[in-house]
Symmetry: C2
């Protein structure tokens, strides 16, 4: 019914008619595609993958060096732009692992960022590991809320600027982040961010550390911050109230540039924005961007790798990869069953004699069985 938008104008300048036609067409082809505003980054975000930092804080995560390298390599191959690692200051093992991963020469443009406290000593330790960038963090809520406008504010800023200057002098990227941003005093927070922005940080970070922010609160804070700093904005959302994916999306709409994720969302308590869930969210409105950057067909493999490492089952309701989300696992089932039906079913029957099996128990048996078969091939 509508005329072709491209054929509508007589020159290259869009007319009101072509714009209206293009909007109608966009809405017709995908009602979930945002008409967009000039701040939105839903079509140009980057992922800071934190399975090896936030994820290592998951109740059940104890990664050895080999596992860390496997995960980092898989994530780099998948296409994430940053990989965040546990601070080398945490332990000697963490330091060695940080160094080892930094030396891998992974394809991700920034193979090893790093998370550390805002002290010169920690920053030096990180830079010495050969990382690409250093993420420094400062707990602002208790300081800023209780002692706002006092000496503490001045001291925090001074300390932050010193550490930032040092990291830059070592040729590393630097991100400055507050912890518990949504419970910090807004005015003090903005003042601090502006100071570090002026000092030339590569990114400032906002964190919903206790996982209680709502999408509208996130949108408001990030949009306000977007007007105050000119540098990139990274965001980190915990999932205690089930909003970590929606909050990440709202942050991008408001002008954030980077989202922290972990595989299956593992992290402190019930974790953060999951890598797969974020991409399920983003692909709806930004299909071409997501599919051009990330190897979605490898998501299942990465989730299996991490699920195995931290010994959990993939939740039945995981976006994209949960057993009921689509039929993603059907191929694996079929292959394994065709390979050796009898051995597999006897295993399942033996387990069923011990206790009733849930569908995801059966699934994990089939998965282990399939992995064994792969190893034998």
């Amino acid at each position: 019914m509508c005329s072709d938008p491209a054929a509508d104008g007589s020159n290259d300048q869009p007319t009101a008619t072509t714009v209206a036609a293009a909007l109608r067409e966009a809405k017709r082809s995908n009602p979930y595609q945002s008409v967009g505003d000039f701040l939105s980054n839903t079509n140009k975000f980057q992922i800071i993958e934190s399975t090896l930092r936030e994820g290592e804080q998951f109740a059940n995560a104890f990664f050895d060096t080999e596992t860390k390298i496997k995960i980092a390599t898989a994530l780099s191959d998948f296409g994430v732009e940053y990989i965040e690692l546990t601070s080398p200051a945490a332990s000697e093992q963490s330091r060695r692992d940080c160094e080892a991963i930094s030396k891998l020469g992974l394809k991700a443009s920034n193979p090893a960022s790093h998370y550390t406290r805002c002290t010169l000593e920690d920053a030096k330790l990180a830079c010495d590991c050969g990382v690409h960038g250093v993420d420094v963090v400062i707990g602002t809520s208790s300081f800023l809320r209780e002692h706002s406008h006092g000496k503490d504010m001045v001291a925090i800023t001074k300390q932050a600027l010193e550490v930032i200057e040092y990291i830059k002098s070592r040729g590393c990227e630097v991100r400055f982040s507050s912890e518990d941003s949504f419970r910090s005093d807004l005015v003090d927070l903005l003042q601090l961010y502006r100071a570090v922005d002026n000092a030339g940080v590569n990114r400032v970070g906002v964190a919903d550390t206790v996982g209680c922010a709502t999408p509208r609160q996130v949108y408001d804070l990030v949009r306000t911050l977007r007007g105050v700093v000119s540098t990139d904005i990274e965001t980190h959302f915990h999932n205690d109230t089930g909003c970590a994916i929606a909050n990440a999306h709202a942050a991008l709409e408001a002008g954030a540039t980077h989202i922290d994720t972990s595989v299956l969302g593992i992290g402190e308590r019930n974790g953060i924005t999951p890598l797969g869930g974020l991409l399920a969210r983003m692909i709806v409105g930004s299909h071409d961007y997501v599919t051009s950057r990330y190897k979605l067909h490898k998501l299942k493999e990465i989730e299996d790798l991490v699920a195995e490492a931290v010994q959990v089952n993939i939740p039945f309701n995981s976006p994209i990869t949960g057993f009921c989300a689509f039929t993603h696992k059907a191929g694996i089932h079929a292959k394994a069953i065709l390979n050796d039906v009898k051995l597999l079913t006897s295993k399942i029957k033996a387990m069923a004699d011990i206790r009733p099996l849930a569908i995801d128990d059966t699934d994990s048996i089939i998965r282990s069985f399939h992995l064994e078969l792969q190893d034998q091939q």
Copy 2:
């Protein structure tokens, strides 16, 4: 530092000073408490629990009558305001179950609502079951988007009004809902809703059937609808893109009055807003409202009941009840272990000989073991 807000004014009228002090105090005591606007219902929502309708459409759900009665009773006791049941038109078994549950006399103020197609025949069948209310639904997206402003619109409205009038004549509550609301033509949708509002429906319903709406889209649509109809607004969110909880919260902020949930979020594909997740979200800003209405300490029990019935494990990262969310399960573990350590550990060891056990496998063994112990007592 601030003066006591109550002592600040010399009479009962709030002054600018008392309002400012109250706002400061509210922000200090809970930064996540919304200052609120006059449309927001985050402090006065109701739950329409759809485990026995949406949940029955979950890939792995095959509830028998006894299980349905157990679940309905548990949900009523928990405090949900409505229980939605599968249409009696679906099968003779569904009809009998609907009748049986309607006769239970459950405490929930509206023990049995019901979901049916928008036909007189289906509506009659539902009313004959003795239900409190009937939910009718009409698929608007394909009709309204392809044939908007045509005869179909008139026909849809006429049919809806007939069915609504019939249900009201039978003394039942009636909800009118569109399916796939976010892909329907907005103007036609509002016209239809206004017509049924004028006809005196008790609620209109908005559904994100494909689970792709964002919180901002939800807020916009519900807020617009709030300005068009005067009746209650029910909302239904699928979780394909991980936003079902956030969308429910956004809907309440925009003036929705009722939220559809299911236990563990079970439903089509990866389901809808989970009951526990919604309450985890709402309790942050509306603590007193949530704790006064719902028996949160029984959430774990209801989730166990449903998880058992549909044979899934509770996802490791479920808000509130996931094994890593807090330490909710610790009590159960300890009790079971204290009851009979040897028998339990020998079970776990026997299973571990068969395959590596995930933490939630172990957890479900301990849970089954504990349930057996309870049965024996």
